[in-house]
C-alpha cells in the first residue's frame, strides 16, 4: 500500500492514552520534513516557558521526503525543549528509526502529555497500542528492556525500538534515547523528557511503500548517489576505521582534548586510536537502515567472570570518536579495555556519553583542586585513567545518591555554579563540549550553533583549513552559511556524513523524483528560514547571543599548536549574532 503522504502527523497523548492523525501539509510544505517541520511542530506544541520535564513539553520525531527513497537518508530528527539548556533541544539518530517511521506512514510523530504509570507505545502502521511498562521500569541494563519488548511485539517490515535507560527514568538532564542498541538521540536530554512522561520505549513498524514520479530517473539518481557512497573517497573514512580514525588525526594536529583539556596532545591516546581498536577489538560492523556505508563499529570485548575460572562473557560495544574523546582521553584513560568497559556502563544506563565524560572530567579536576572532597564523592576517588572508579561514579550520578551527584546529574555548568571551577567546566550554553579543540572556529560554533554541536556549523573543519585572510567577521559569515545549509540536509533528512554527496544539484534532482520541485535559491531560503525559526525558539526560551563567561581553560591549552585568541572568538560570536539577527528579520 502506498505510504500516506509525508505530511501525515501522528499525535499521541500519553495522559489520555489516545491518538489521532492530522494532515499537516502546512507544516511540511514545500517538500521538506525533518528539522524544518519539527521546529514548527515544536513551536506550536511547546508553550513559552514550559517546564522541560512537565507534560506540556512535547517530544517530536520527524523524517523527510528522501527517507526510504535514497541511501543515507537514514536519520530521524527529534525536537523538544531541552532539560539541559532550557531552550531548543534537538538530537538526530539513525538506526532503523527513520525508515520505520516512514514505513508506518508518517512524516512526524508528536508525543504529548505524560502517563501516571510506566508505558511503552507500539505503533504498527495505523494502529497504536499503549502497553504497561511497570515490569521493565528500573532495570539496570537498558538493553534488557529492549530485548523483552522485541520478544513481546511483532512488527511487519523494518522496525525500530527507541528506549530510555535508568538515567532517563531518573531524569538525568543529559540522559539519551537509544535506538537499535547502538544509535542514540544522545544529546540535550531527550531521555529525561521521555522519562518525565513515564515513556520507557517506542516500538515502530510498518511496511508501506513510497511512490516515485519517474521510475527511470529514480534509478539513475539512486545509482549516482549509491556509487558515490560505496566507491568514492568521500565515505572511505567512515567505513574503514570509522569515526575513530579522528583520534590519530587530532592527536597529530594537537587538537584532541585530554584530561579535562589540560592537554591537547596525550601519550595514552594511541591505544584508543581507530587503528588499534580495529586491529584488536573490531568484531562487527553495522549500518543504519538504507545505508551502504556501515560506519557503526562494534568492539568485541571478552571479560572473565570474577571468582569463576573459565567463564567469560563477550560484549559487543559500539565505539566512535566522540565517545573515545569523552570517556577516554578526556578522563586520561589509556587502556582500551577500560575505555570499552566504561562505555558499556554508560550505554547500560542510557547517558549521553559526551556530557557524562565532560562532567566526570570536571569532577576529577575539582577533587584534585580541593573544591570538593571525598565527603561529596562518597569516597569515590576520581583519578585520571582510573576507569573502574569512573564506572562507580556513573552509577552514582544515575542514582543521584547525594546532593553532589544530584548536581552532577544537572551537567558540568550546574556543578561549577554550585562548587566553583567554572574556568574548567567545559560546557557552552550548558552543553558539554564536543571533542575538537581546534581553534576559534570550533568554539564560536559551540557557542552559536543551534544545538551547540560541532556538527551545526563545522567550525572545527574551518580551523583546520588555515586561511590568513579569514577575519573573525568572515569566519562568522562562513559558520552561519554552513549552519543554514545543514538545515536543508537535516530536513531531507540525510546523514551529515553524506554532506559531500548531497550537494544542492543532487538534492534538487532527488527531490524531483520524490515529486518536489525546488530551485537552489529555494533551498537556501528554506535553510535560512529553518535556522531563523530555531533561533526564535531559543530566544523565546531565554537564550541570548552573548558568549558570556567562557571557561578560561580553552585559552590556556594550545589548539593546533597555538593559543586561541579570546578577542577573536568574541568578535566572531558578536558578528554571528549580528548576521543571525539580520537573517531573522529578513524572514
Amino acid at each position: 500500500m502506498p505510504a500516506e503522504p509525508l505530511s501525515h502527523v501522528l499525535y499521541i497523548d500519553l495522559t489520555n492514552r489516545t491518538h489521532h492523525v492530522r494532515e499537516r501539509s502546512d507544516v511540511f510544505a514545500p517538500g521538506l520534513g525533518g528539522a524544518h517541520a519539527a521546529t514548527r511542530l515544536l513551536e506550536e506544541e511547546c508553550p513559552a516557558g514550559a517546564d522541560p520535564l512537565g507534560p506540556e513539553n512535547p517530544a517530536v520525531f520527524a523524517v523527510g521526503p528522501l527517507t526510504c527513497l535514497f541511501p543515507l537518508a537514514s536519520k530521524t530528527v527529534a525536537m523538544f525543549k531541552s532539560p539541559l539548556t532550557g531552550d531548543l533541544g534537538e538530537s538526530h539518530a539513525g538506526g532503523r528509526s527513520a525508515v520505520a517511521i516512514r514505513h508506518a506512514g508518517y512524516g512526524a510523530i508528536v508525543i504529548r502529555g505524560a502517563s501516571d504509570l510506566p508505558l511503552y507505545v507500539v505503533i504498527d502502521g495505523s494502529h497504536v497500542h499503549f502497553r504497561d511498562a511497570s515490569a521493565i521500569w528500573g532495570m539496570t541494563r537498558g538493553s534488557t528492556s529492549a530485548k523483552i519488548i522485541r520478544g513481546r511485539e511483532s512488527g511487519s517490515g523494518l522496525r525500530t525500538i527507541m528506549r530510555i535507560g535508568r538515567a532517563g527514568e531518573r531524569l538525568v538532564r543529559y540522559a539519551s534515547v537509544t535506538t537499535e542498541t547502538y544509535r542514540h538521540f544522545g544529546r540535550m536530554g531527550l531521555g529525561a523528557v521521555l522519562g518525565s512522561k513515564k515513556l520507557k520505549a517506542i516500538h515502530i513498524s510498518g511496511r508501506s511503500s513510497v511512490p516515485v514520479t519517474d521510475r527511470k530517473q529514480y534509478q539513475a539518481i539512486y545509482d549516482e548517489i549509491h556509487t558515490a557512497a560505496v566507491e568514492s573517497e568521500l565515505m572511505k573514512k567512515y567505513h574503514d576505521l570509522g569515526t575513530a580514525v579522528n583520534v590519530g588525526h587530532l592527536l597529530e594536529m594537537g587538537g584532541l582534548p585530554a584530561k579535562n583539556l589540560r592537554e591537547s596532545r596525550y601519550d595514552g591516546a594511541e591505544t584508543l586510536s581507530g587503528e588499534n581498536l580495529a586491529e584488536n577489538y573490531l568484531g562487527r560492523r553495522l549500518a543504519c537502515g538504507h545505508c551502504p556505508v556501515a560506519c557503526i563499529h562494534l568492539a568485541a570485548l571478552r571479560q572473565p567472570y570474577e571468582d569463576e575460572p573459565y567463564f567469560y562473557k563477550t560484549s559487543m560495544i559500539s565505539y566512535d570518536y566522540e565517545l573515545i574523546y569523552a570517556l577516554g582521553t578526556m578522563l586520561g584513560i589509556s587502556d582500551a579495555q577500560g575505555y570499552l568497559r566504561l562505555t558499556e556502563a554508560v550505554e547500560d544506563c542510557g547517558l549521553d556519553a559526551m556530557s557524562a565524560g565532560v562532567v566526570l572530567a570536571w569532577a576529577t579536576e575539582a577533587l584534585e583542586r580541593g573544591l570538593i572532597s571525598t565527603a561529596e564523592t562518597l569516597d569515590v576517588k576520581l583519578a585520571w585513567g582510573d576507569w573502574a572508579t569512573y564506572i562507580q561514579a556513573i552509577r552514582l550520578i544515575v542514582e543521584q545518591s547525594n546532593e553532589f551527584y544530584r548536581t552532577l546529574a544537572l551537567g558540568a555548568h550546574a556543578a561549577a555554579e554550585r562548587y566553583g571551577g567554572a574556568e574548567f567546566a567545559l560546557a557552552f550554553n550548558r552543553v558539554e563540549m564536543p571533542g575538537y579543540h581546534t581553534g576559534a572556529g570550533a568554539y564560536a560554533n559551540y557557542v552559536t550553533g543551534a544545538r551547540h554541536s560541532h556538527l551545526d556549523s563545522a567550525g572545527y573543519s574551518l580551523d583546520q583549513k588555515a586561511d590568513p585572510a579569514r577575519t573573525p567577521e568572515k569566519l562568522a559569515a562562513e559558520l552561519l552559511k554552513e549552519e543554514q545549509w545543514r538545515q536543508v540536509l537535516s530536513s531531507l533528512v540525510v546523514c551529515f556524513f553524506a554532506r559531500g554527496i548531497y550537494k544542492p544539484d543532487v538534492v534538487m534532482r532527488a527531490l524531483a523524483v520524490a515529486g518536489v520541485s525546488l530551485t537552489e535559491s529555494d533551498l537556501t531560503r528554506l535553510g535560512r528560514e529553518t535556522l531563523a525559526a530555531k533561533h526564535r525558539f531559543k530566544q523565546r526560551e531565554g537564550f541570548a547571543w552573548d558568549a558570556g563567561a567562557l571557561p578560561k581553560r580553552i585559552f590556556e591549552t594550545p589548539a593546533l599548536g597555538h593559543p586561541i585568541s579570546e578577542e577573536e572568538l568574541r568578535r566572531t560570536v558578536a558578528e554571528f549574532a549580528r548576521l543571525a539577527t539580520e537573517a531573522q528579520t529578513a524572514g
Binding site: 527513497l69 516512514r102 529514480y218 538504507h290
Partner: protein
C-alpha cells in the same frame, strides 16, 4: 530489500521479496531470508491450482491468474522466503534477477548458478 522494491519501481520495502532481520538483536548480526531456488520446491508441490511453476535452474514462477491466495505455499516454505502482497492477496517470490546482489556493498549476497549432482546410490 530496498533494491528489490526499487527494481519494481517503488521506494520503501513493502514489495521486497527478500527479508533481513537481526539475529536476536543487533549485536548478533543479521539473517537474510530469500528463496534459494530449490530443485524440488515444496511451495510448488502444495499449490492446489498449479500457479507456481518450477523454474528452469531452480525456484518457481508465479502465474498470478491461477493463484487463489490460499497461502499454502507460504506455510510450506521451510525458509520463510515467501513474502505476501497484502493488496493483491498473493505471494511475492524472488525471481533471482540478482538486483539485490548488485546493490549489496559488502558482497554478502551473490547470485550464482550451480549444477546439482545427483547423489550416487550406495550399493
Amino acid at each position: 530489500m530496498f533494491a528489490c522494491a526499487r527494481w519494481q519501481g517503488e521506494g520503501g520495502v513493502e514489495r521486497s521479496r527478500i527479508g533481513v532481520h537481526s539475529a536476536g538483536g543487533m549485536e548478533h548480526g543479521f539473517v537474510v531470508v530469500v528463496c534459494r531456488g530449490c530443485e524440488d520446491p515444496p511451495c510448488a508441490r502444495v499449490c492446489p491450482t498449479d500457479a507456481l511453476k518450477r523454474r528452469k535452474g531452480g525456484g518457481v514462477l508465479l502465474k498470478e491468474a491461477l493463484c487463489i491466495g490460499c497461502r499454502n505455499c507460504q506455510e510450506a516454505c521451510t525458509l520463510g522466503a515467501i513474502f505476501w502482497d497484502d493488496s493483491a492477496g498473493k505471494p511475492m517470490i524472488c525471481v533471482h534477477c540478482g538486483t539485490c546482489a548488485k546493490y549489496c556493498p559488502h558482497a554478502v549476497l551473490d547470485l550464482e548458478e550451480s549444477v546439482v549432482q545427483e547423489a550416487a546410490h550406495a550399493c
